[in-house]
Symmetry: C2
Subunit: 353 residues, 2 copies
């Protein structure tokens, strides 16, 4: 008998204060309390005050689940990041965070560690949670797979990747412009043999940079020399070594553009190991302008992406869509990169007579 009582009596685990409690305490209906909470205009000032008072007294906090169930809105955005440990992404995350908070959204983060399977999984999970919208940064998924997963009501904005047809759109850096700026900077310095060390072939950004590189080279009638590697310091080092080892009847290339700054860092390492001075013997240009770039020695010339803005614009686009609910075709917002000229580029070595 005693036991029965123990189990059925409410254990004093401070019973949560609900909206009903507030209504009771303020002597009004639950609807009125709800109106006050949600700042409805048509509430008498005295009523509002007494409700606010009761809320204060009881330390009432609205229940998220209840609200979400009733409104079908989670006030939450999902953010899928390809690799949070890549120094390119933290600034993007900050941009997303700040903008989301500004619009009253919280952010559910998924780090997929460059893994396609995990990305698909995250997409699935996020939509089960009924997030209001999704930002996907540097998707590694193919368009067809995305098309398949995106088929549903969750609006998606991509960063630096092609939007699938049924999504809101994307925000990107104008990679063609960036590559052109990099290569032309080298051409102006006098370089004629400029190599490009690319990243993972599945990356959409890589595809665009590679194409731009070829286009610019063709435009200026210079040879191309290409490599491809993992987008890491190690990849950059290995790729540069390979490139350096290739026979080239016209002599070694005098400048190297890499897919990202991590790879450029590796290139610097490889150059040092190969007794090549940068920039006297070899000029190097990276992409992204991660925080480390300016701190290397020599400081790295690189094509800066507006990382934080990529994030904040993506959220703005998403929120705009949520509010207007327009079902227009995917929008593509293209931001300008900026060539940051630092110490790793200079004129090519004078040819030995």
């Amino acid at each position: 008998m005693r036991e029965r009582v123990m189990r059925h009596e409410k254990i004093p685990v401070d019973p949560p204060v609900t909206l009903d409690d507030v209504a009771l305490a303020a002597g009004v209906s639950t609807a009125t309390v709800s109106r006050v909470i949600n700042n409805f205009p048509r509430v008498a000032d005295t009523t509002r005050r007494s409700v606010l008072d009761a809320i204060e007294r009881l330390h009432y906090t609205p229940n998220f689940a209840g609200r979400m169930l009733a409104t079908q809105r989670a006030h939450t955005l999902g953010l899928i990041i390809t690799d949070i440990t890549n120094p390119f992404y933290p600034a993007v995350v900050r941009g997303v965070e700040a903008a989301a908070l500004h619009h009253g959204f919280s952010v559910l983060l998924y780090d997929t560690a460059e893994n396609q399977k995990r990305e698909a999984q995250a997409l699935q999970l996020l939509r089960e949670r009924q997030v209001d919208g999704l930002v996907i940064c540097s998707s590694r998924l193919g368009i067809s797979r995305l098309e398949q997963l995106a088929h549903g009501k969750t609006p998606i904005v991509f960063i630096n990747s092609q939007p699938a047809l049924s999504t809101v759109g994307s925000v990107e850096t104008d990679h063609e412009l960036g590559m052109r700026a990099a290569v032309e900077h080298l051409l102006h310095l006098g370089h004629r043999r400029i190599a490009y060390l690319g990243g993972p072939p599945t990356s959409q950004v890589q595809k665009r940079r590679l194409k731009a590189y070829r286009d610019v080279a063709r435009d200026h009638g210079v040879q191309t020399l290409e490599g491809s590697q993992q987008p890491t310091v190690e990849g950059g080092e290995a790729g540069t070594r390979e490139l350096l080892g290739e026979h080239d009847p016209d002599g070694r290339f005098t400048a190297l553009v890499t897919y990202n700054d991590l790879m450029a860092t590796g290139a610097l390492l490889a150059a040092r190991a190969g007794e090549l001075r940068v920039p006297e013997d070899l000029s190097v240009i990276g992409h992204d302008d991660i925080p480390m770039a300016a701190l290397l020695s020599p400081a790295l010339t690189t094509v800066r992406q507006p990382m934080q803005e990529l994030g904040s614009r993506a959220v703005a686009m998403l929120v705009g869509h949520l509010q207007s609910s327009t079902t227009a075709n995917p929008t593509i917002l293209s931001l300008h990169p900026q060539l940051m000229v630092r110490a790793s580029t200079g004129p090519p070595p004078v040819a030995h007579p």
Copy 2:
């Protein structure tokens, strides 16, 4: 009249499939469907199969809000990060992410940009969302304020900061051990005048490192020389310049330990500007071992924190608490740092006769 119809008829926006739909389709009660979804053992195999079948056919996905309201569990962890753009944190985030996912939790991220107010705000927001638990990394809030905010049921685990009394506990690096290793490494090399350039005085980690520095110095009977600055590259540069400018009757210090690697990077810059070679004229040791540390020239000797492990252990502690619901005193888990000896430290310059 037409208009009325238009508004009241369900616009064909594929009405979401609910558990009731499944129950109907499978010819069972909603309770049974729920049991199947939640893998209850006592369900007849045939029943289970037909339910699963209906779920498949209808493409049913459980509604998160409904479930959360009924169970009062969000399967969500909150993560508060002091400054996501500081390269120390991404690895911590990855640790948290991976462990959370492994335990079936999603992660709501808040980046507070080193701002106490935003940290308090985030704490508030997160608990309104009824997250199951919170991980706070490098809190900038004082214990009393935390005590105040933590007063509630949301379990909290801290990373690298003192737990408030009413929380689950904390995971930290043994900062005393780390500082001791750094200073003793320098002593073994022959240094006798070792300076410490600290970080923000409000940081709990800074307080502990400073104290440890003084303790080790006292133990070995060497003088102390202290500075303090923002935990950034700029702070490190400025702080080192200041320290270098101070009059010291016994001659300049020959080694410098900094609060973190960012500051050590600044120190390297300041040394270069001051025509001091590292390590020949000045040895430098940082803390953390951020990815950049090994890539600087000279490569930075530093006290490594197990960043990813800090994150994953914090989640493990939180989840353990959630499952056992033990209301024990705060646990403190202390992880070992590791001195990474690289190129920025060496013997002190020989004194001029």
